[in-house]
């Protein structure tokens, strides 16, 4: 890492007072010097991982999950351009992805035009349509942030979702519209007949759009979006129009949402009203917030975790939406930083070299807590089975154990597991807190 003199790195217009207090001997205050290797490393690693993944998980269902994950990543990152970086809460963002996807679908069905373009650039058209819609809506919705913006986004979202049933020519009514991606001009001989080819297309777009969104967040407009989020009044005094800054973020976010819609169209070859409705908008909010809005990579983690949760849990239980709701609500209440925030909390600990002191306290608290939660989940599942199971069908399987849900024994066992597990977790929590404080203190007796 090249260490440059911090004093020359301070941008023009920075207050001289900061220049004086910047102490080169304290690394935390030094301006981040532009080390190309360090900046590029995560991107290179991510690309390599994306390229290798299909060789590790070769079956088709894994590919399907990874495709869905990639699409969600692009969408969640686009959403976070609004929520995390711009401080604008949108309840109707699925509309831009959906409209982008529908536009791509129509292009797919225009066989004359479609056969002259390679499939790989189709998402650009989706992005342009998403951007166009965002420009129209943003023209009046970005005047305010906060509640008013959220309400307009909800209203416009509901409006367009309702229109999808009425305007059959564009949205295809109830059954949606479908197309065939293979009619595109072959791209270096690849016709995208197989799922694996689609995967590499999607993965390529994930890297490209993530990189572009990251670069956007480093531009002056992206930086001003942060300023406007934190203090619009002060940004106005600095001579920036907070409305226009919000507008630019909104339009850029619309573009990338449209790209994700285009990827959806390529992957599934069908789009329906479901891609536009409020439920999809809600899910993307959930994904982004779960991952953490405070960091650029937060939505990526959220998309991966949520897709896994959705596919794995929905295979094993009918109640997965209920668990997702509980998880979401507890994230909002207890970890507003999301998963990324939780991860980043540990950076100072690692910097102090005390991460190893945390392992044992974590094990002592989190392991019983996890077991206790499993007990609770078993109780929930048993209650559900007891109430809604078919009459006569008393057998049920929870956590690889099959038993009769109408006898007392399993209830006692699950209740005891839940009580003991959570009890131990509660008893060891103070020790964990002490260990955490100790690990976050420099020096000390370790």
């Amino acid at each position: 890492m090249t260490v440059s003199d911090p004093r020359t790195d301070i941008p023009k217009g920075a207050r001289p007072k900061e220049q004086i207090t910047t102490d080169p001997s304290k690394p935390a205050q030094r301006m981040r010097s532009g080390s190309l290797v360090l900046t590029l490393a995560p991107w290179v690693i991510a690309s390599v991982v994306l390229a290798i993944l299909p060789m590790v998980f070769t079956n088709n269902s894994a590919l399907t999950i990874m495709n869905q994950m990639s699409i969600t990543i692009v969408f969640a990152l686009a959403y976070n351009m609004l929520l995390g970086q711009g401080g604008m809460l949108s309840f109707g963002h699925a509309v831009y992805a959906g409209v982008g996807g529908f536009a791509c679908m129509h292009i797919m069905n225009m066989s004359d035009f479609f056969s002259t373009i390679p499939l790989v650039i189709l998402p650009v058209f989706g992005g342009l349509f998403g951007m166009g819609l965002a420009m129209i809506v943003g023209a009046f919705s970005t005047r305010n942030a906060g509640t008013v913006f959220a309400m307009i986004s909800l209203g416009v979202g509901e409006l367009i979702a309702a229109c999808s049933v009425i305007i059959v020519a564009f949205f295809g009514g109830e059954e949606g519209i479908s197309g065939d991606r293979t009619y595109a001009q072959p791209f270096f001989g690849v016709e995208f007949l197989q799922q694996i080819e689609v995967y590499y297309l999607t993965a390529g777009w994930v890297v490209i759009s993530a990189a572009l969104m990251y670069l956007w967040s480093r531009t002056p407009v992206g930086r001003m979006a942060n300023a406007v989020r934190d203090n619009p009044e002060r940004a106005e005094f600095l001579g920036y129009s907070s409305r226009w800054v919000r507008f630019y973020s909104f339009v850029a976010s619309g573009f990338f949402a449209g790209v994700s819609g285009g990827l959806f169209a390529i992957n599934y070859e069908i789009l329906t009203e479901e891609n536009l409705n409020t439920a999809s908008s809600g899910i993307i909010l959930l994904v982004t917030f779960l991952g953490g809005v405070g960091f650029f990579f937060g939505p990526i983690i959220g998309a991966i975790a949520f897709t896994l949760l959705q596919t794995v849990l929905s295979l094993s239980t009918e109640l997965w939406a209920f668990y997702a709701g509980v998880l979401f609500l507890s994230t909002v209440m207890f970890f507003p930083g999301g998963l990324a925030g939780l991860l980043m909390m540990h950076v100072p600990v690692f910097k102090l070299g005390k991460a190893s002191t945390l392992i044992m306290p974590y094990l002592k608290t989190l392991l019983p807590a996890a077991i206790g939660l499993m007990g609770l989940a078993a109780l929930v599942e048993m209650t559900f089975h007891y109430r809604h199971g078919a009459t006569g069908d008393n057998e049920m399987t929870v956590f690889w154990t099959t038993f009769d849900s109408h006898t007392l024994m399993p209830w006692l066992v699950a209740g005891a597991v839940a009580l003991i597990g959570l009890g131990i977790a509660r008893a060891t929590a103070p020790a964990l807190k002490d260990a955490w404080n100790e690990a976050n203190t420099a020096g000390g007796a370790s």
Partner: protein
């Protein structure tokens, strides 16, 4: 003329029902500055609780007890949920209520299943009150109007004429000053939240038998309620009343009079294209008013937000 009268009554019922929800929501908004996305979920809970109670104790006890239970739950949500999230700022608060709405819907499905419940109008009210030239008006509709209007008058009386109402109004505008005068402002907030959700519960109890008691009922009405208070002006009780009635009447009239876009367009002097099948405007030409009745409130809201962002009666723009 007779049909107009019938529609006026139908629209009034819908509007007053909306008002019972939007009144609580708008009070909560002016108090905490946060839109409660879960408000309609409390309406749904009201209907479900009332159904459960009516199985054991009959409809009238359900009407009495269910709103109380819902109100207590609402107060609990404020005390242990929202107050905790409040420290993180407005956006997490909105997200919290949004997540709560999702969770309550899942919870209701978990307990009562996904099917519609057989929650029916009580026998005492299941008769025709009167008829307007062959269109019978059920007594239950009159009962709904009666309940909603008495709640509105009661709310207005409490808020403007009693000491408690004065303190609440003062706490909405100047919480710090009221706190300095020795009133327990957090308790007031909790109470207002509880009363607001209890009102939603009442709406659920009386609407459940008519509109159906099913897990999607919060979602169906929820977004319309937001639209209502945005049109009326956030935080304005009168605005909520006017907007509720407006939306109630607009949607009812749009549904019962089949106004076709074709007639409007030809009336404007635009000639109809020869074959509609390959025109991209074919859906536009075949549009009818019952088709768009449900999205009219959203169109109205977007227009209001563009041209008068504070709403019809709103004073401050946030």
């Amino acid at each position: 003329m007779d049909l107009i009268l019938v529609n006026l009554i139908d629209g009034l019922v819908t509007g007053l029902l909306l008002f019972m929800l939007s009144a609580g929501l708008t009070l909560i908004f002016s108090m905490m500055g946060v839109l409660n996305f879960a408000h309609a979920s409390f309406y749904m809970l009201g209907a479900y609780f009332a159904y459960q109670i009516s199985l054991a104790l009959g409809f009238w006890m359900g009407l009495l007890i269910a709103p109380l239970v819902v109100g207590v739950m609402g107060a609990g949500v404020e005390r242990y949920g929202l107050r905790r999230v409040h420290q993180y700022g407005h956006v997490p608060e909105l997200i919290f209520t949004f997540g709560l709405a999702l969770l309550i819907e899942e919870l209701v499905q978990f307990i009562w299943g996904k099917n519609q419940l057989p929650y029916a109008i009580p026998d005492a009210l299941n008769f025709t009150a009167f008829a307007i030239s062959g269109n019978s008006i059920p007594a239950y509709k009159i009962f709904m109007i009666f309940i909603s209007i008495s709640i509105f008058i009661g709310l207005l009386y409490v808020l403007t004429k009693t000491r408690v109402g004065m303190i609440i109004q003062a706490a909405l505008s100047y919480p710090r000053t009221v706190e300095a005068l020795g009133h327990n402002v957090p308790l007031i907030f909790m109470g207002v939240f509880g009363v607001g959700t209890a009102l939603a519960g009442v709406a659920g109890v009386i609407a459940g038998p008519v509109l159906g008691t099913f897990p999607g009922m919060a979602f169906v009405l929820g977004s319309i309620v937001f639209v209502t208070i945005v049109i009326g002006g956030l935080g304005s009780l009168w605005g909520a009343l006017i907007a509720s009635l407006l939306i109630g009447w607009i949607t009812t009239f749009a549904k019962s009079y089949n106004i076709e876009m074709e007639n409007i367009l030809t009336g404007l002097g635009i000639s109809k294209p020869e074959s509609l099948d390959d025109s991209i405007f074919r859906d536009f030409w075949s549009l009818t008013s019952p088709q768009i009745a449900d999205i009219l409130p959203y169109i109205l809201m977007v227009l209001i937000l563009i041209f008068r962002p504070a709403g019809l009666f709103g004073k401050r723009s946030s």
